[in-house]
């Protein structure tokens, strides 16, 4: 017990002495903290953006999967048979995953905005709608149209939702862009912390030279700087991350319909992801300061 306490105390003492030899905070120090905080703040936003773009791409992709409709307009008596014929035909078509006639309730829900909730769908010559789900490969729309024309005269294939395909591609690109900007910000954090560390080391060239001349080992000198910069980057990034998460949490949420931006938030366990930001910042600071310190030290005998 005594021994370990002593060791700890010695470590504490040693650290304090080691910290003393590096001058206290100057502009480069504040710069490092500020850079880390600002970039962490932005990194949290980029993270939220990437995740939101990912969610958007997924949901648009799902919509595309059940994108086409077959509309059957026929005299009342024939609707049922034509629907059945169309369903049969669709089930045999390669590229169609499934086909399903919408129920009355579903059709009514679709039409409610226009006709009010009291619309007697059955009494109207409302066409029967069939929801067609495609396989990932998709079907040959022109061929299907020809066959429908031949076998189910009242059927019209409406793959109007196909226009969403470029959108899904766009969402995928957005997702990529989000991750890319996240990577860019990470690279920027790295570059800026490296530059700040280098600037601080350059400003402390005399300190390093003096320490080296009085017999300090490279490890001792590097440790003094590395510890300080890692802590600065960690604390700065932690503050920035907390602020960033708070800002994301406070972003007005307009519900699902409110479009993309108000979906710029974390969902579920994704709230834990920003914790990575300060950890990674500290790791970058650690590595870049170590490299920079070794480089400066290498120039001294």
């Amino acid at each position: 017990m005594k021994v370990s306490l002593d060791t700890l105390r010695a470590l504490g003492r040693g650290d304090k002495a080691g910290d003393r030899v590096v001058p206290p905070t100057g502009f480069t120090a504040r710069l490092t903290v500020f850079v880390a905080a600002a970039m962490a703040f932005l990194a949290v936003f980029a993270l939220a953006l990437s995740l939101a773009a990912g969610r958007l791409a997924t949901s648009w992709g799902e919509e595309l999967a059940r994108a086409s409709t077959v509309r059957i307009s026929a005299p009342s008596g024939q609707v049922a048979t034509q629907t059945e014929a169309a369903l049969r035909l669709l089930q045999q078509t390669p590229g169609v995953a499934s086909a399903r006639a919408l129920s009355e309730a579903e059709q009514q829900a679709l039409l409610e905005p226009w006709f009010g909730p009291d619309l007697p769908v059955t009494e109207l010559p409302v066409p029967q709608l069939i929801e067609v789900t495609e396989t990932p490969e998709g079907y040959d729309a022109a061929g299907l149209r020809l066959r429908l024309q031949a076998e189910v005269p009242g059927a019209v294939l409406d793959d109007h939702a196909r226009w969403r395909k470029p959108l899904v591609a766009a969402a995928a690109r957005l997702k990529l862009l989000g991750w890319l900007s996240g990577l860019l910000i990470a690279a920027a954090v790295g570059a800026m912390v490296t530059l700040a560390a280098n600037a601080a080391l350059a400003a402390n060239a005399q300190v390093i030279a003096v320490l080296r001349l009085v017999g300090a080992t490279d490890a001792y000198i590097a440790r003094a700087f590395v510890r300080r910069f890692t802590l600065r980057a960690l604390s700065g990034a932690a503050v920035g991350t907390v602020l960033g998460v708070a800002a994301v949490a406070l972003l007005p949420s307009g519900g699902e319909t409110a479009g993309f931006l108000t979906g710029l938030s974390f969902r579920g366990w994704h709230w834990a992801l920003p914790v990575l930001v300060p950890v990674l910042s500290a790791a970058v600071a650690f590595a870049s300061t170590a490299v920079a310190a070794r480089r400066v030290l290498g120039g001294l005998s």
Binding site: R20, V21, P23, P24, V210, R212, L213, G215, T217, S301
Partner: protein
């Protein structure tokens, strides 16, 4: 302790020093002199491993500097006290802390109230300035602080580069006496200086060899002083 064997050194242009040999035996006392720019500081740097000879062999405590890694060089500096010509300090630490720095980086920190430290500062006449920051010191005070820093860690060798260039005659006598005392306790001393008066004064106190750099080589200069 320190041996240079047929050493040459060049900063890139012509050779500054060539075929130069020097042995610093334990307990010896040397002066190094020569006109400005002939390579006194360069020679001292070769002696404490800050420069590596471009030819020949330099041995610190029996090890060839070429075989020493950076940590070994750092360790050897803890056994050699150096007074640099341009004395640099950590400007954010007090004079006392700066003087104690070699002990701090060796992992044996002492408090500013330490008895040895107080005595040493008293000897070099800096007791009243112990809490001043280096930029607040006069030129002579800096030089004296540098000497104190060089000897605080009880080194086996003291290399002093122009340690009295900025202090008055009386103080330079005092500093010389400190080095002579250390030498009597077995410390090897090498002083580079322009001050021939100082050399003359030393000769009455200690058995000193005077070396002079002439034509890129070392010569003994005892006769013409």
């Amino acid at each position: 302790m320190i041996e240079l064997d047929n050493v040459a050194y060049s900063y890139g242009g012509g050779e500054l020093l060539s075929e130069l040999s020097l042995q610093l035996a334990p307990g010896s006392f040397h002066f190094l002199t020569g006109p400005s720019g002939t390579g006194k500081t360069t020679l001292l740097k070769l002696c404490y491993g800050a420069l590596r000879p471009t030819a020949g062999q330099a041995r610190l405590f029996g090890t060839d500097v070429r075989e020493m890694d950076r940590d070994a060089v750092a360790m050897s500096r803890r056994r050699i006290g150096v007074v640099h010509q341009d004395c640099q300090f950590l400007d954010h630490l007090s004079l006392a802390e700066n003087v104690a720095l070699p002990l701090t980086v060796a992992g044996e920190p002492i408090s500013p109230q330490d008895q040895n430290l107080r005595e040493l500062l008293g000897w070099v006449g800096l007791t009243s300035r112990a809490n001043a920051l280096p930029p607040e010191l006069s030129g002579g005070e800096r030089q004296r602080a540098a000497l104190a820093r060089a000897v605080i860690s009880s080194p086996e060798v003291v290399l002093a580069d122009e340690p009295t260039g900025n202090v008055d005659w009386e103080m330079s006598q005092r500093l010389l006496r400190l080095l002579v005392e250390l030498n009597r306790m077995g410390v090897t001393v090498l002083i580079a200086t322009h001050d021939l008066q100082l050399i003359r004064a030393a000769k009455s106190q200690v058995q000193a060899r005077v070396l002079r750099i002439v034509n890129r080589k070392l010569q003994s200069a005892g006769v013409d002083l």
